[in-house]
């Protein structure tokens, strides 16, 4: 039993390398104290109202150590590292595995390193990574992160290679993996990034990942995030992005796996013509719990955001979507669109969806809408009356619902994998690719 969050902190002696700078040691200790004070978030906190951590509290997690990074990944299902087209960087149990990835630091304009080797990057973002406020898991992350990725893209560098980060969890013990990522794009830089989480089928670990993103003026980051862990693993993740003038942050969050997944995305649009597009697709079955909390901060005028989340929930799975849009005073002429569409496939599935607008400016265009529905019985009958089995008809309609998000993903590999996953029948996906 882990009733107290601070029990998840690593032992204070010898927990970090001696090479760690003093300021970081201090920040970690400070964060550790915050963890002790804050404790596990409970349902009394508005943003945790619909997500209970009681199952996590029953697990005796231990913080992952460097020795855990050598876990045998060859037993992992569906890891085809060699066949991946993209430049891949691999972490195992929260530690960088240089030997497994295909990325060599030889693409011009971009520097990718394990964060642990890049204290410079940490120092530059000192304030950013320390602003955990009352977020206990973010504090825990700072206090205890083992490693993560550091990505820096030079000004004006347009990176044509897609970079793929794969975070693998695999251990007999229930591990707590604290991962911290910092991604920084210089002015007018462009990058496409896939961030993928996978775990072994017997992994009961918890991944606690914090990602800080800085997009300088005119930069564009296309960020495709895939939670594809085993349904025994859990994940609590936070992305904090700062988007400067003329810069764009485009994010897809695809959640398929995980027992409990909580993903918070917090985007600040800090300069004119900064934009963000947040798309999400989640599919739960069994007793999966999938929680998205997004916040878009229109801090100045003429900034634009768009959000489309689609959820598909079967069995006793539960989804949560909370989309907050904050328009600061004087942030005029902004546009913010938000939609949350949800498909419930069983009577026992549940979705709690809530748009939240806080508007302090008066000349703005904000639209939001949430829908919750079942498979359209008229469409189902239409397909069946044409000779398509009930099972295939359902798969087709579910696929069609998911496709709205999937089709926007411009990464062939990822898109076709998702299409296969959602169509549920190889035969059908074959059919689709063959259709004219």
């Amino acid at each position: 039993m882990t009733d107290v969050l601070s029990e998840l902190l690593p032992p204070s002696e010898g927990r970090h390398s001696l090479s760690e700078p003093d300021w970081l040691q201090e920040k970690r200790q400070e964060a550790g104290r915050a963890v002790k004070e804050l404790g596990f978030p409970n349902s009394g906190i508005e943003t945790w109202k619909y997500t209970s951590l009681h199952r996590l509290k029953k697990v005796d997690f231990r913080p992952a150590e460097i020795a855990d990074s050598t876990a045998d990944t060859t037993v992992m299902p569906k890891i085809e590292i060699d066949s991946l087209k993209e430049k891949t960087v691999i972490f195992v149990n929260g530690f960088f595995r240089k030997d497994l990835g295909t990325y060599k630091n030889n693409v011009a304009g971009i520097k990718i390193e394990p964060l642990y080797n890049n204290t410079n990057m940490l120092e530059k973002n000192q304030e950013f990574i320390s602003s955990y406020s009352d977020d206990a898991f973010a504090a825990l992350n700072l206090a205890a992160f083992s490693d993560g990725i550091s990505i820096e893209v030079d000004d004006n560098a347009l990176i044509s290679e897609t970079i793929r980060l794969v975070f693998i969890g695999e251990h007999r013990d229930p591990l707590l993996r604290n991962i911290k990522n910092i991604i920084q794009l210089g002015q007018n830089a462009q990058l496409r990034l896939i961030e993928e989480y996978r775990s072994g089928i017997d992994d009961f670990g918890l991944t606690n990942v914090s990602t800080n993103i800085v997009l300088q003026k005119g930069a564009t980051l296309n960020h495709h995030r895939l939670q594809n862990e085993a349904i025994s693993s859990s994940q609590i993740a936070k992305i904090v992005a700062s988007v400067e003038a003329n810069a764009s942050y485009n994010s897809d969050s695809i959640v398929l796996g995980g027992q409990l997944t909580r993903l918070e995305i917090d985007v600040a649009l800090t300069g004119g013509l900064a934009t963000c597009r947040l798309n999400g697709l989640f599919s739960g079955s069994g007793e999966q719990h999938i929680d998205h909390h997004t916040t878009v901060r229109h801090q100045v005028g003429d900034t634009h955001s768009e959000e489309l989340y689609r959820g598909i929930l079967d069995d006793k799975s539960r989804g949560v979507f909370n989309g907050k849009v904050i328009v600061e005073k004087d942030a005029q002429k902004i546009t913010a669109k938000q939609a949350s569409n949800n498909l419930l496939l069983s009577r026992t599935a549940e979705i709690d969806t809530k748009p939240e607008l806080q508007i302090y400016a008066d000349d703005v265009k904000c639209a939001h809408g949430a829908t919750i529905g079942q498979l359209d019985s008229a469409a189902l009958f239409y397909l069946r009356s044409r000779g398509i089995s009930e099972q295939k008809s359902r798969a087709l309609l579910i696929f069609a619902f998911a496709e709205e998000i999937i089709k926007t993903i411009p990464v062939d590999n990822l898109r076709s994998n998702l299409e296969r996953r959602f169509i549920g029948h190889n035969e059908m996906s074959k059919l689709k690719s063959e259709a004219l």
Binding site: A379, I388, L397, A400, M428
Partner: protein
């Protein structure tokens, strides 16, 4: 081919069909006419197996099998096709993709091998021309953004690809202007063959100028109150449905 005996159907406890008897043989075209609320669409839906209809009495035999015991997709496999009065728009599902899944579903039901893509596409391209459907619509999402006429043509196009032995056309003329009506009727006429029967459900006689029926049945308050040949339809056009209802009361 089709034998409906003393069919009683209720929706939410309310009886809609009250003892329908109808025999349809291969090669025949039967028109079922009647005023609004007479039960025409209910009959079509029950034949295709739509949920929400309770058969309280009677039977439907199709090629010696009890149709009522079969799922909608099994009925399609047996050779039943319903052209919908309001074809459903299905966003995200490609027209051709759906049709290929349908055809292969039916072939699998019959123990036949699946068609290859090449065979399938060749056939589709021939047939789309025959029914006068714009080929560009093939790759669109099912019925999405189609005009009323395009939707109905798409139904007939599906009919031509799936080659049923019994085709039920549910108010196929509704919402069509005269040109679209003629085009749809032409498509149907080309599909009239000795091994296939049609049940044409319609409110108005005008469709029957173009699809000439062998039999006309008039449905009123859930019963067939009169059966005749195509002349009966003309009489109905002239005199309306009321005279029949009145005559029936007498």
């Amino acid at each position: 081919m089709l034998e409906i005996k003393n069919l009683h159907v209720a929706v939410e406890g309310k009886e809609i069909l009250s003892g329908i008897n109808l025999t349809v043989n291969a090669g025949e075209v039967h028109a079922v006419m009647g005023p609004n609320g007479s039960g025409k669409s209910t009959l079509s839906h029950v034949l295709a197996g739509k949920e929400g209809y309770e058969v309280t009495k009677g039977s439907i035999l199709f090629k010696e099998k009890s149709l009522l015991d079969l799922e909608p997709e099994e009925r399609a496999g047996e050779g039943v096709f319903l052209a919908f009065q309001y074809p459903i728009e299905i966003a995200g599902v490609n027209n051709v993709y759906m049709l290929k899944a349908a055809l292969n579903g039916i072939r699998a039901y019959r123990g036949e091998s699946e068609l290859s893509s090449v065979q399938f596409l060749k056939m589709v391209k021939d047939k789309v021309k025959a029914v006068g459907l714009d080929e560009g619509l093939l790759n669109r999402q099912v019925n999405s953004g189609f005009s009323g006429g395009e939707k109905k043509k798409n139904e007939i196009f599906q009919l031509s690809v799936l080659e049923p032995t019994l085709a039920v056309l549910d108010e196929t003329d509704s919402g069509l202007d005269i040109d679209a009506l003629k085009a749809v009727a032409d498509g149907v006429n080309k599909l009239r063959i000795a091994t296939r029967a049609f049940i044409v459900v319609t409110h108005y006689q005008r469709l029957l100028d173009h699809i000439v029926p062998d039999f006309v049945h008039v449905l009123s308050k859930g019963k067939i109150v009169r059966t005749g040949d195509k002349e009966l339809a003309l009489t109905l056009e002239e005199r309306g449905y009321d005279w029949l209802a009145e005559e029936n009361l007498v």
